[in-house]
Every structure is written in structure tokens, then in C-alpha cells.
């Protein structure tokens, strides 16, 4: 046994190592195995990387199966990390080492750490999965014998949201560059030496108009249940480009309420996920508006700056001449790029773009000072929006989220955030945008930046509902998501979680104000006595609850000790990896030896059984307000991004064939004699 333990992380988008410049894009990192810089060992090889995704109405299940090969002469410990996908609940880890199958159970973090260290010290097979804040999941596996392979399976769930009828699923592969300590320690091998495949099954009760996977040219088909299946396969690929799948629902779908419940017995509380897609006639805003762009040009934005500039360029060129703009940038300190309010004429936009293209990324990140400078010089007579573009990694100046909330609440300004790259600080962005009644969007380098700007523009340039609040009467509901929504923008979908004790009908009421007028939208939904089709809803509800507690703790509304205790209790009950809990991965015998209750095994069995049943059936329409629609209007169309006269490849080839026939007809003897 090798006592010189040596850590190898894989598929992380972490880390330093090979630096390269790519058309001025700066440093890029992909996923891959990593070894400490200057280590004597060869990095682990990735022999296989399979990703299976099921998008099932309201939520996504992502399964990653990966095989590592240790090419070294010694037994090693492997570390595998990847960025935490937003709102993801890591639920399953299975490791196959030789003939052993190890499975995971969530325990309080310290207990999991202790057991793992004990088992490793005794030379036994063990694994552990833990979460490092919003940045990454980390997996440790021991032992990986010399010249041998280990396979690992990871499953996580996350809720899905549509924006103006367009869904977006991200499988993060590109490094977010947000963890400087890791960047300086690790070097990386991002190459897959075997098979790299992605398979997405898109199950939707609503018809899909299009799907799009920028940068991944795979095959699209339809299975026997009418589900869309996308498959990508490559040999010896590099894990350095995020996989993104957009799907667009057909136009003119109704405004609607969908409820996905789970209740396995009438003596237990039920859980539910509620998706509200408003069908409300929100009109375009008239008159000019002011926009202040606050841009992060710190070192961690290296590799993302080109996307930032591209996005701002698109946003500026979409503005009307009656609009005005200013530009502020920040790294260690904030500074003006365009200091005074400038009308968005062609000349001034062109000048601004010239200045923006000169920006370089370096230094620390002082988001607070950037916002402070952005909030100066506001004109009370004009509606102002602040567009913040950052990865949110605050490491200079004020970093306390509560101070950010206080700063934003001082001004009547809407903040629209673009959160760049993986491992970005979405919890802070959530605080900032929530306090200002704005919204934020996560943006990958692989995103269609034009599309993201267009979707955001739909919100910025249209009326919004104000003081929106959702109420549920009946069902004895409890432990609900935040129901005080604040503003609802055009195309925005609302996702809520909660629990209920009383099956039967419940009245759902959405109250809001639109241009000074009170608006009330109502319907009746039904909570079933039992419904066991979607057991994953329990974990998603629990993760939503945990995030709400973390949010309150960040703002100082709950003491840290109290939140840790509550989070640990929920996470262990519902088997979720959090900052305070980890998943220990052992064989059955070792679990028994440690007296660990097999809660996750039971939960996983229920989930797999339900998934197998769902696989055999067509997607179920979970619309809950069919009999009494909550909204009279249709959901907004996703078409305001423009349109094009486009010849698709199939039609183009058909036309070219006919042209060829026409031109070569004579040569081929297809003309009549004498012609």
C-alpha cells in the first residue's frame, strides 16, 4: 500500500496547468483529471465519460458515469471534482472498484470525514462526496490500484425553468476560475482517452418546436413515446466546453399552473413542485430609459471577458437613440469607463464599444464598490436599470451579503445580473437582484449570448407586475418557498416548492399590481391523497428549503449555529450533500459495521422504480388549472428576438440537386434529342 497519498481530481473544471491563449480569449480550463503541479505521477486517464440526462417536465436528472485509469506503478487515491450546478441536489454516488460495489449514504460532515479516514487508514475501499459552498462537489475514492480502473456513477437532480418558452439545460465542463487556491495547486489533464458521450431525453407534455446544442453536433431523434432524444458521441474529446441544450416550446401555449406532487402514504405529508407560467398582457415600455452597466474586469473573469464584451456590445446596439447609458468597471477598485450619461446614438455606441474592447482582466473583485459607483448620478426623472456582469467572487472591500442588500434597498433601481461562468457566486447575485426587484441569468461561454440578451431585453423593456404575492388556502400547506415574489417580468416562469398535510382542493391566488391597478389571478388546484410517480420531488423540496435557510443565514437573519443544525437535520433525512453533510460511500458490510442506517438506499430504490415506470410511459401533463384557468391570456411568445429568412440544410441540398439537374440535364442525356 502506498502511504504517500496523492490526490488526483478529475472532471473538474478547476485548475491551473496548461495555459493557452485562444484568439485573445485568455486562459481556458476544461474538465479533466488533475494532479498537483510538479507531481511525479502521471495524471489519471479518463477512459470513459458518459452523461445521461432526462429532462422531465419540471426537473432534470443528470447521471454521470466515468471510468478512471491509474497508469502509475503505485496505488493512489483519486479526487474528482466538478462545479456545483445551480440548485442541484446530489443524490447518488456509486463506485465500482474491482468486484466491489460501494454505495453512498449522507451523514453529518464530520462523521463522514472520520469514517472515510478510518477506512482508508485500514486500507479498505471507501469513497466520499462533499460540497464546497457554491463552487464545487468533491469526490474522493480510495484505493485506485496501479494499472487498474475504477468506475463511478453520480446522479443529481435540479429544477428546470423556462424563460419566454425557452428552456436551458447546462452540463458544466468549463472551469469557472473562481477558486484561486485550487488554480495555483493543481495541474490538469482534460482529455478523454475513451468514449465521451452525452444522451439527453427530453420528455415534455407540451410540444417542443426546436432544440439547439451549440458546439455539440449530435443526432436528434424521437423515441416511441414521442420524447426527443439527443445523442452526442466522440472518441478522445476534450472536456473543456460546457454542454448546453436549449429547447423551445411551440408558440401560443396557455398561461398555466402545473403541480407535480409526491405523497406515498396518507399518514405522511406530501411534497409538491408548483410551476406558474403567467399569461399576462405586459406592454412594451415607452419613452427612453437609462442603463448603467457595471462590469467585472477582475482576474477571475479571464476567459469570460470576451463573452462579457460580446454581450454588452449586443445590448448597446439594441438600445434606442432616446436611451442613455453609462459604463462602470471594477476589479480591486471601481472606475468609470463611460462617465457621463450618453445618448445611445450610433456614434456613441461605436465609441463605447471601442473602449470596452480595450478592457483587460486583472486584480481582485470589489463588487460592492462597483455597485456603489454605478448607483451614483441617477436621474430621478428617468427609469434606470443597472446591468451587473460578474462571476460574483467578491474578495475585496465589503463582502457581507447583508451590506449588499442594504445598498440596493437604498435606491429605486432594478438590477439585472449576468452571472458569468461555472462556480460563480449565485447566492450573492440572488441577494443583490432580490433586494432590487431584478433578476439574474447564468451565462456560460458556450451560451448563445445574443439569445440571452434578447430574453433579458424582453424583461427590461416591458412592463412588470409589482408587489406580486402567491397565496395557497387549503391543503394545510407548510414549509413553502418564498411566496412574496416582488416583480414578475415578461416570460418569467415561477417555481415553488412546499408540503401539504391535507389532500383535496386548495385555492391558489396570485395578487399583484400592474400600472397602479390591483390584479388578482385565481384557480383551484388538487393535492392528491397519494401520488408516487415523482419521488425526486421530496429531495428537490428539501434542497429548496436548505437554500432558503442558507440565504437567511447569509443575510444574518438566522444564526450560523442554528442554520447548521437545521440544514444537517433536513439533509440527513432527505439524503442531500450540503456544506454541513457529506456522502460516505462504502460496501454493505462496512455500513453495517458502522451502524449506519441505509436511508439513501431506500430512497434511491423508490426513485429508480419510479424512473423505470416513467420511462415506459408518455410524459404526463401536470397542468392543474385546466378546469379553471388562472390566466386568460397565452404565455408570451419567444419570438421578439427577430426572424430570418433561413434555408435549412435539407431544403438547400434539395434545391441544389434540382439546379444541378437543370444544368447538367443535357450532359446526362436527360434532354430530348435535337435540343
Amino acid at each position: 500500500m502506498n502511504t504517500n497519498k496523492y490526490k488526483i481530481a478529475t472532471r473538474i473544471p478547476l485548475l491551473l496547468g496548461i495555459l493557452f491563449l485562444c484568439l485573445g480569449r485568455g486562459m481556458l480550463h476544461g474538465a479533466g483529471t488533475v494532479t498537483p503541479t510538479n507531481a511525479a505521477y502521471q495524471p489519471m486517464e479518463i477512459r470513459d465519460h458518459q452523461v445521461n440526462v432526462t429532462l422531465n417536465n419540471g426537473f432534470a436528472q443528470t447521471e454521470v458515469i466515468q471510468e478512471f485509469f491509474n497508469p502509475n506503478p503505485d496505488t493512489l487515491e483519486a479526487i474528482y471534482t466538478f462545479p456545483v450546478p445551480q440548485h442541484a441536489s446530489l443524490s447518488e454516488v456509486t463506485i465500482w472498484a474491482g468486484e466491489k460495489e460501494l454505495q453512498g449514504e449522507v451523514l453529518p460532515r464530520q462523521e463522514a470525514d472520520r469514517i472515510y479516514e478510518e477506512e482508508v487508514a485500514q486500507g479498505n475501499s471507501a469513497g466520499k462526496a462533499s460540497r464546497e459552498s457554491y463552487q464545487r462537489f468533491e469526490f474522493q475514492v480510495y484505493p485506485v490500484p496501479a494499472q487498474s480502473s475504477v468506475r463511478m456513477r453520480v446522479v443529481y437532480y435540479q429544477p428546470l425553468e423556462l424563460d419566454t418558452g425557452v428552456g436551458r439545460y447546462l452540463y458544466p465542463l468549463e472551469e469557472g476560475n473562481t477558486d484561486e487556491a485550487a488554480l495555483s495547486f493543481w495541474t490538469q489533464n482534460q482529455k478523454v482517452d475513451g468514449n465521451f458521450s452525452i444522451r439527453v431525453t427530453l420528455k415534455s407534455a407540451w410540444a417542443i418546436a426546436d432544440i439547439r446544442t451549440p458546439g455539440y453536433a449530435g443526432a436528434q431523434s424521437t423515441d416511441e413515446h414521442g420524447n426527443i432524444v439527443f445523442e452526442y458521441q466522440n472518441q478522445t474529446g476534450d472536456l473543456n466546453q460546457d454542454f448546453l441544450l436549449y429547447y423551445r416550446l411551440v408558440d401560443d401555449l396557455p398561461g398555466r399552473v402545473e403541480v407535480i406532487p409526491y405523497r406515498d402514504a396518507s399518514d405522511k405529508p406530501g411534497s409538491f413542485m408548483m410551476i406558474v407560467t403567467p399569461g399576462i398582457d405586459l406592454q412594451p415600455l415607452s419613452g427612453g430609459a437609462d442603463y448603467v452597466f457595471v462590469l467585472d474586469v477582475s482576474g477571475s473573469m479571464d476567459g469570460k471577458l470576451h463573452t462579457l464584451v460580446k454581450g454588452i456590445e449586443k445590448a448597446l446596439t439594441q438600445m434606442q437613440p432616446q436611451d442613455r447609458f453609462r459604463v462602470v468597471a471594477f476589479n480591486n477598485n471601481a472606475f468609470h469607463v463611460i462617465e457621463s450619461w450618453t445618448p445611445a446614438t450610433s456614434e456613441s455606441v461605436e465609441h463605447a464599444l471601442g473602449v470596452l474592447r480595450q478592457l483587460q482582466s486583472n486584480g481582485g473583485t470589489n463588487v460592492y464598490e462597483g455597485l456603489q459607483l454605478g448607483l451614483k448620478k441617477l436621474d430621478d426623472d428617468r427609469a434606470t436599470s443597472l446591468i451587473l456582469v460578474t462571476d460574483g467572487v467578491t474578495n475585496q472591500g465589503i463582502v457581507d451579503p447583508a451590506r449588499f442588500r442594504d445598498l440596493m434597498q437604498k435606491q429605486d433601481i432594478r438590477v439585472f445580473g449576468f452571472l458569468m461562468g461555472n462556480s460563480s457566486n449565485w447566492p450573492l447575485m440572488e441577494v443583490i437582484t432580490e433586494a432590487s426587484g431584478g433578476f439574474y441569468k447564468a451565462v456560460s461561454n458556450s451560451d448563445d449570448i445574443v439569445g440571452q440578451i434578447i430574453l433579458a431585453k424582453n424583461k427590461v423593456l416591458y412592463e412588470a407586475l409589482h408587489d406580486a404575492q402567491l397565496e395557497i388556502s387549503g391543503g394545510d400547506t407548510f414549509d413553502l418557498s418564498q411566496m412574496r415574489i416582488g416583480k414578475i417580468y415578461r416570460g418569467q416562469q415561477l417555481v415553488f416548492f412546499g408540503r401539504y398535510d391535507q389532500p383535496g382542493q386548495a385555492r391558489l391566488t396570485l395578487k399583484a399590481r400592474l400600472t397602479g391597478e390591483d390584479k388578482v389571478y385565481q384557480t383551484v388546484v388538487d393535492f392528491p391523497e397519494t401520488d408516487t410517480a415523482n419521488p425526486e420531488i421530496e429531495r428537490l423540496w428539501a434542497m429548496d428549503r436548505i437554500e432558503a435557510i442558507e440565504h437567511a443565514e447569509r443575510l444574518g437573519d438566522i444564526p450560523a449555529g442554528e442554520s447548521e443544525s437545521v440544514i444537517t437535520s433536513i439533509a440527513v433525512e432527505y439524503q442531500l450533500v450540503t456544506d454541513h453533510t457529506s456522502m460516505i460511500v462504502l460496501d454493505d458490510e462496512t455500513f453495517q459495521r458502522h451502524g449506519i442506517e441505509r436511508r439513501n438506499r431506500e430512497r434511491v430504490q423508490r426513485e429508480r422504480q419510479a424512473q423505470a415506470q416513467r420511462q415506459l410511459a408518455a410524459p404526463v401533463n401536470r397542468r392543474a388549472d385546466t378546469n379553471q384557468p388562472m390566466f386568460k391570456q397565452k404565455a408570451p411568445r419567444p419570438s421578439f428576438g427577430g426572424g430570418g429568412g433561413a434555408i435549412d440544410p435539407f431544403s438547400a441540398l434539395a434545391a441544389l440537386f434540382m439546379i444541378t439537374l437543370s444544368v447538367l440535364g443535357k450532359k446526362l442525356g436527360l434532354s430530348k434529342k435535337g435540343d
Binding site: T164, V166, A209, D210, I211, R212, Q220, Y246, R248, V250, D251, D252, K310, E313, K314, L316, T317, Q318, Q320, P321, S346, V349, E350, L353, D448, V450, G451, I454, L455, R637, P638, S639, F640, G641, G642, G643, G644, G645, A646, I647, D648, P649, F650, S651, A654, A655, L656, M658, I659, L661, S662, V663, L664, G665, K666, K667, L670, S671, K672, D675
Partner: protein, 214 residues
């Protein structure tokens, strides 16, 4: 090549030039695309330039791949009025998009003109059927019916039959194809004082070699 289809080649070169320039400087795109709302709607150059700028490389390549050969062959076979036909088609498509799709925001792309050219060629081929093997005429008939069905399907369902690649939030506009086809139909089937000069094209002439008059 150029001398047999000067308009098509000139327009294609303009499209290539605009694509290269706008890729390097995307802000130009918003000055050239057709706008269906606001004061930019009345900036007259957009009514024509909108057809020659594109959303991305794929959009541009497929549109031009069809426009260039179709334009060359139709222009060569049409002794006069080809320029007027192209301008009329472009303006008709522009008018229809502004009138019927004001919410679209912006429009780009050559494919409305591609449609017009395709129908023009189909009509020429069918009119010229006496010089062609029957199988060719049947194929053109099938192509014409298939094209009409495709447009009908797209108009009725509101989305493209085959997936295009314009980016999220950007839709294909079947109306442009319909209007382009309608203009070609009207242009090439109207009664004329003199017969439409149709000349079966040899491979050599299409490749730009000198040829005698037919």
C-alpha cells in the same frame, strides 16, 4: 462567370463582404438589418440591406449556397428585368414582414429571395419542358409541389419543417418564403408581349465559357 450573371455575382459579393464586416463589427448588423418597429422602420436602406445580413455563419452559408447558383442560372436565362425582379421581391418581402409580423423586431436573410429564385427556375424549367426529358419535368413538378407543401406547413404551424440554426429566440419566417414565391409566380407567369427568353443552359456556358447564341 461574372459577365453572364453580373447582378447575382455583385449581390453575392456584397453579401460576403457584409458578412465579413459585420462579423468583425457586429454593431453594423443592427444598422443594416430590417427593423419592424420604431423609427428604424423608416430607414429605407434597411428594406434592401436586411436581406443581405445574417444571424450567424450557418444562416449565411446555406442562404448564399442556394442564392448564388440559382441567381446565376435564372439571371442568365432572363434576358432583361432580373434586377427589377430581385428588387421587387426584396421590397415585397420587406413589406409583408413589416405589415404582418410587426412584433418580429428584426429580420435578416437571403432565403426569401432564394424562394423567389427557386420558383422562377421551376417555372422556366416547366415552360421549357418541350426541350426536356419527361422525367426532368416530373421532378420539377414534384419539387414545386413539395416546396409549396413545405411553405404551407410552415405557415400553418408557425415553425420550420426542418430545424434551422438561427439561435434561441430567433425564428424562421415562412412568410418571407411565401411572398418570395408569390412574386416569382406573378413575375414569370404574367402575359408578355414577347415570349420569355428561355435558353437551355449548357454546362460549359454555366461555367463561364463563351458560347454562341442559342
Amino acid at each position: 462567370m461574372f459577365k453572364h450573371a453580373p447582378i447575382t455575382w455583385s449581390l453575392s459579393l456584397i453579401a460576403v463582404g457584409l458578412h465579413l464586416v459585420t462579423m468583425a463589427n457586429p454593431s453594423l448588423l443592427t444598422a443594416l438589418e430590417l427593423r419592424t418597429q420604431g423609427p428604424q422602420l423608416w430607414e429605407g436602406w434597411r428594406w434592401l440591406t436586411g436581406h443581405f445580413v445574417h444571424f450567424n455563419h450557418s444562416h449565411f452559408i446555406w442562404d448564399l449556397a442556394v442564392f448564388l447558383p440559382l441567381g446565376c442560372i435564372v439571371e442568365k436565362r432572363t434576358s432583361q428585368g432580373f434586377g427589377r425582379f430581385i428588387v421587387s421581391s426584396a421590397l415585397a418581402i420587406t413589406g409583408a414582414v413589416i405589415l404582418f409580423l410587426p412584433d418580429l423586431g428584426s429580420y435578416r436573410g437571403l432565403s426569401g429571395l432564394d424562394s423567389a429564385l427557386f420558383i422562377a427556375l421551376a417555372i422556366q424549367e416547366l415552360r421549357n419542358s418541350k426541350n426536356r426529358a419527361q422525367s426532368i419535368s416530373i421532378l420539377w413538378g414534384i419539387a414545386l409541389v413539395g416546396f409549396s407543401m413545405k411553405i404551407l406547413f410552415e405557415i400553418m404551424t408557425g415553425h420550420a419543417m426542418f430545424a434551422g440554426d438561427l439561435g434561441p429566440g430567433v425564428i424562421t419566417v415562412p412568410l418571407a418564403h411565401l411572398v418570395g414565391a408569390a412574386v416569382a409566380l406573378a413575375w414569370f407567369t404574367q402575359p408578355r408581349k414577347a415570349p420569355i427568353p428561355l435558353s437551355p443552359l449548357s454546362t460549359k456556358s454555366f461555367q463561364g465559357h463563351a458560347r454562341s447564341t442559342d
